[in-house]
């Protein structure tokens, strides 16, 4: 062993280090029971939507899509908040953060690695749920097409075609994919927000409570913002309040594209890209804020 490794230049930013922290975080998160419980719950929910057998095909598909996307949304949001909120306190309590930061690891990289670990977990679970959902949708579509073919055996081709087409239209539509992507982006935003809050929070519960609070206000922010921008409100107190809400909170309602997708609305590419950019922007900004606070934090 050569004790002196003189002159080895330190890299200010290293993807290897970030990757090491991210994969370690992912391993840590996949050991969490809550992850499997939530994932199982979401999958059962998606699976159970098939049991709405009393409904007609079209209704069944709509319910299947709504429940599945709703389950994905709940699961990813909840996981983003719960999994992220415990990361920093846990590492501090176990003193793992000392051993990591005593290595030449900038604090920004530490946070980024942690966040990427959570995002990876969210991506993996989104993929699992999407796969289950699409497989289910596909098999139900198949069943519906077969049943229709049987029922309408004697009828004219034109009518049969129309019936089959209406089934195809109401099952998979390509707009589902941007819808799912936006659900994922919303979870990313929430994870980043949770890291930000946990850098100054005094406990894990505090982080969760504040994030959930922001989550609800975030869904109202759009209403408050438009109200404020239109200058309707009379008193200055109310105006200031609306302004603070509009400036301080993210507009989470913008990330609910899935509702409209399931209802059959088409999402123009530009709208999707803008929404995605907004989500990514928020995620980055919150991480930068988190770094600003975490850099000065006493460990």
């Amino acid at each position: 062993m050569n004790p002196v490794r003189a002159g080895a230049s330190h890299k200010a930013f290293s993807l290897d280090r970030i990757a090491a922290i991210a994969s370690n975080t992912l391993t840590e998160l996949t050991r969490l029971k809550v992850f499997y419980v939530l994932l199982l719950f979401a999958c059962v929910l998606i699976g159970s939507s098939v049991l709405m057998a009393r409904l007609s095909f079209q209704q069944e598909f709509q319910v299947l899509k709504d429940i599945s996307l709703g389950a994905m949304s709940i699961f990813t949001s909840l996981l983003a908040i719960v999994a992220t909120a415990r990361m920093l306190p846990q590492d501090t309590e176990d003193r793992i953060v000392y051993t990591i930061l005593a290595k030449p690891v900038p604090r920004f990289e530490y946070l980024l690695g942690k966040l990427l670990g959570v995002l990876l977990l969210l991506a993996i679970s989104t993929l699992i749920m999407s796969a289950l959902f699409l497989a289910l949708l596909y098999s139900r579509e198949h069943a519906a097409l077969a049943a229709t073919n049987r029922q309408m055996a004697g009828l004219p081709q034109e009518q049969l075609h129309a019936a089959l087409q209406s089934i195809r239209d109401s099952t998979f539509n390509p707009d589902l994919l941007p819808g799912i992507s936006v659900i994922f982006l919303k979870a990313c935003l929430l994870a980043s927000l949770t890291i930000f809050i946990s850098t100054f929070a005094t406990s894990q519960i505090f982080t969760v409570v504040v994030t959930v609070f922001v989550y609800f206000i975030g869904h109202l922010q759009g209403t408050a913002r438009e109200f404020w921008l239109q200058g309707h409100s009379a008193g200055w107190l109310a105006r200031t309040f609306l302004a603070v809400v509009a400036l301080l909170f993210p507009d989470l309602q913008l990330f609910n594209l899935a509702d409209e997708v399931v209802a059959g609305a088409a999402i123009p590419l530009a709208i999707f890209l803008k929404t995605a950019a907004l989500g990514a922007f928020y995620t980055v900004i919150y991480l930068l804020f988190a770094t600003a606070i975490f850099s000065a934090k006493e460990l």
Partner: protein
Amino acid sequence: MKRFLLVLAATLLFGSVKLPAEHALFAARSELRLHGVPMDLSLREQIGQLGFIAALSGFRSLIADFLFIQAHVAWERTEWSRVLLLFRQVTTLQPRGVLFWDMAAWHMGWNASVSVFNDKSQPRLALRIKAQREYWDLARDFLERGIKNNPDQPKLYEALGRLYREKYKDHARASESFAKTAEQPGAPSYAKRFTLYELSYCEGREQEAYERLLQLYNADENERLPTLISRLKLLEEKLNIPLAERIPDRAH
């Protein structure tokens, strides 16, 4: 503490940057009617506290589905006023759900109206007819509001056309609705034919109907369906079209 205030200030600063972006996106989506529904007090009164909170937190569609299934149960029990109430909530929560508007109108116009008309607990026929018409009007109202929210969906125009045709027996309006259906993207091929069939029943518009039906007849062999031919023949008779110009007795 100083740092916290600094970050708070940064958040507000960042807020003023993201605000225009959010507003622009919101405006662009409003134009396409992709902005969901305004979360106001009247909605809260309609769907109750718990539903309102859930709807607030991004599960609007899920609540709508839940209420929709309840409406389905209410229908099986023929509790018509409950069906009406639930469908009002469902369509308020998810105004982009064409299926919801369509189902709401169908229950009102075709199920509830028939049920009240046959309701022997009301001995006076006049009142039963009145109740029946009220449900037709409700159906029409659902469809018209559905169209306002989804102006490019052929399904709702078609449903309106059928309502006018079968229930109100208003052929002019039915024809108009089918014409609107045919204009929408993805409209079924029969929408054009239905428009003209209805037109052919309208007093005083027989000539127009005849010309357009004939045009359709000549344009495409696939359109020469039994109904089309019989309507044409009837009009030829009515308008005293010279024998030479009449269509052959049997198309193929």
